[in-house]
Amino acid sequence: MAPRRDAARVLLRIAFRNLLASPVRTGILGAIVLVGALIVVVGSSVLDSIDRGMRTSIQGSLGGHLQVYEARSEGALELYGGLRGESLLEPIEDFSKVKAVLEQVPNVKQVVPMGIDQAMVATGNAFDLALERLRGDVRRLEAGEDGPELRRDYAAHAAHVRRMVQLLRDEIAQAREISDPEGREAAERKSEWEALQRAATDAFWRDLDRDRYGSLEFLENRVAPLAMDTAFTFLRYVGTDVDAFFRAFPLAEVVKGERIPTGQRGVLVGKQYAEEWLKLKNARRLDQIKDARDRRGKRIADDEELQRWVRENRAGIREILLQLDPIRADALAQELRPALGAPAAEPLEALLGRLFAATDESFDGQYRIFYDVVAPKLRLYQIDVGDTITIKAPSKSGYFSSVNVKVYGFLQFKGIERSGIAGMMSVLDLMSFRDLYGYLTAEKAAEIRALQKSMGAREIDRERAEAELFGAADGALVGEARVAEIDEGALVKRREEERASAADLAAHVYSQEELEHGVALNAALILDDPRLLRRTEGDVRKAIADAGLGLKVVDWQEAAGLVGQFVTLLRVVLFTAVVIFFAIALVIINNAMVMATLQRVKEIGTMRAIGTQRRFVVTMLLVEIATVGLVFGLAGAALGAGVVWGIRVAGGIPAVTDLLYFVFSGPALFPRLGALAVGGSLAVVLLVAILSALYPALIAMRVTPVEAMATED
């Protein structure tokens, strides 16, 4: 043992001294190793933290731990939507069967039914909405109802419409001055203008009560189309057993309003979705400016985007004016004048112009005035808590289906409130989801077949259509018909029990049985101990196979689809970068070591001549490079740890996009240093260093003692 130790000592000594003898070379190699270790440590720490963030986001918002869906489905389950929209899933026809089986699997705590889809929500343009309110009053009046309150509503609604007509006329009057169409178009514009003029006259409104429906139709069909606003929006929702959902996903919380009562129909609208798509544009822009100023340190004076928002807000005043009936408009003007220090006679439009003309100095004050004075008089969200909205979707049977649901509240997920991925999601009760989904029941299919048969509809092949239809002069081309008497009243009559009104449906409380016996598209499984995910996944598979349920099982990450692959993608990117980096490092280190070896051929030959074994020479070289690897690798890892710490101290990596917000599971990512990251980085740099020294070691080994004899010139 002793001779070994002596040899080892001198070996180390020579190796170290060689390193010190050529500081430039050692420095370069060291720098490479250091940067490599740094990249690995920082990269993998950040990635691990992202992984953790994703886990929190996905598991806490929709994913749970495992997901099951019908195995025959055409597409894969993508909880957050894929490139081509929603997942193409076959329905689970009876969720209760799935639940009964899967609840028995050990470690499965909860099975939550889900169905994710998108549908259209008609919001109506502002004009249509105002008219719809007026029509509601008219309907009641015409049905013989009356009373001071109804009269007051009716008057206020009519005044509002009238005001909108005036605003619209002012606007179109301006447009008329600019454009001057010809011919047919001119005639059309002229008739539009006449309609608008008529709707603005005192006489029209005086005579409103004479022909209420007629006047409404005139306003609806001749005037309202001129307003040209968007009239619908898309809502992404998960239909679910709402109580079970909140138990399963502790991050979910209602921020405004209340939960959908047990067993009732309703919707909880995604808060972030409401902010981005449903909020009054001006209010939204104010929020954005505030956020940019407070959180990102931007200033209106030197940021183009903020300036654009300020400009757009001035242009968006019309939207606010359209919302206000004359009484509220007056009240608002009166409150705004002192708040803004404006002259007594200044009209509302000018006041609002003043309010939205923000500078860095005035912004905070104006923001407060908007929310304190203006906002309470406005409808801030197109769809708000307490509203009943109509959701319309193309159902699986091919027909459109619509449901009315009450908006019970706004929903958000704690920690990822602002994420556009989780925050866009609304929660819908399962019954309404099923109505929209419109699963083609056997009964419905039979009805359709019967109708087809009764009509004698004949299918013909597209390619042979002309030959079949016109191939023979059989006299079918023309014929004579007799007039009939069509009684639509008899045709439309529906069975009494099917005539459940919207109000009945809203009030109906469904039993847990009803909820669970029916269609779902997928189900989230919540586990008691998430660490046993893999084992439970196997158990669930087995249970499904045993029960013949024909379901596919995926883990939360796979279920998250594209979003879930984000971390994998990042990993691939980091891995590729590291591989490329180390490949280059390998070449550089190898070259440097080859050169160093060649320079030392004589010395090595001498050592060999005076009795050094080959093994010693090789080891000496490896020790040399391993020392570089270890010392600089440690330094790099330490530096990496420092960087990670620095990032945390500096407030984390900000989530600048929605996707990042979601994957970070919050507004910023706080990377955490992992022991694995440090150990891994050291292992990697050592491995690379030693690999790159193998070839030079081979050269050194081949040096013969004869080289020592060579005389130098």
Partner: protein, 257 residues
């Protein structure tokens, strides 16, 4: 004498053979005749069947009543079958197309280009024929469609007129002047839809004092989404005057209440 002249005219036409193009006045007459034969000066009510086939999906079928009052440019569809669809309807007043769903009791503004009930049918397919008003005609050729001799005519939308298809090509039966085939093209000339009208029926209209023609069967083939097709059958026609307030929201609401 008259007979002889008519015979001579016919002989001349036959002698000229298929190469004989329609002169501009003749062409204008053909197009005007197409409109005129389908025109009905009074109200119009038809019981229809509509069936849409889409690749990989179940058929969507409806029974519906179509109402027209051409002088006011008003139109209404009331769905009667299947049961779940009964009471839904469309109401068109000028350029406004409204959709009503009794299940939610709300009216929704739709665009004029709406695919009715999710089928390939446009509201224009069940409307009055206004070719003269909307298009300029150009004679293309005389040819055969199956066993029938037809005029092939290209229609191009008049400037400033808002129509669903800027170009339309018609195959008109030379013998009866019924449209047998219709191609609808985009501005680019791309073929969008092909329609066939293999059976025409006439019915005497008291208000017009003459026959009104209508296609009993329409087959619409989507040329963009190949494999999608829609069949419309007009089963019954009722030409009695309609209630004055029929083309209103209130009327349609009352039908499903």
């Amino acid at each position: 004498m008259h007979r002889a002249l008519a015979f001579l005219a016919l002989a001349a036409a036959l002698a000229a053979g298929p190469a004989a193009a329609l002169t501009p006045p003749e062409l204008a007459k053909v197009v005007a005749t197409i409109d005129e034969r389908q025109r009905n000066s009074g109200d119009w009510k038809a019981l229809c069947y509509m069936e849409a086939k889409e690749k990989g999906k179940t058929d969507v079928v409806y029974e519906l009543v179509v109402y027209r009052r051409d002088e006011d440019d008003k139109q209404m569809f009331l769905f009667t079958k299947p049961r779940a669809e009964a009471g839904k309807g469309y109401l068109r007043i000028d350029k406004n197309l409204w959709l009503y769903d009794p299940a939610v009791g709300r009216w929704e503004r739709r665009t004029e280009r709406e695919r009715i009930g999710g089928t390939d049918t446009r509201r224009g397919d069940l409307d009055e024929s206004r070719l003269v008003e909307e298009y300029d005609a150009k004679f293309e050729a005389d040819e055969k469609l199956g066993v029938y001799g037809v005029h092939r005519i290209l229609l191009v939308a008049k400037p400033g007129v808002d129509v669903a298809f800027p170009q339309v090509r018609l195959w008109v039966d030379q013998a009866t002047l019924n449209v047998l085939k219709r191609q609808e093209l985009a501005l680019s000339g791309r073929l969008m839809r092909t329609a066939y009208y293999p059976r025409w029926k006439k019915v005497f209209s008291p208000s017009k004092g003459a026959d009104v023609w209508y296609p009993e069967e329409m087959r619409l083939f989507d040329e963009i989404e190949k494999g999608n097709s829609t069949l419309i059958l007009i089963k019954e026609i009722d030409l009695r005057p309609l209630a004055a307030n029929l083309f209103t929201k209130a009327w349609l609401e009352s039908k499903s209440r």
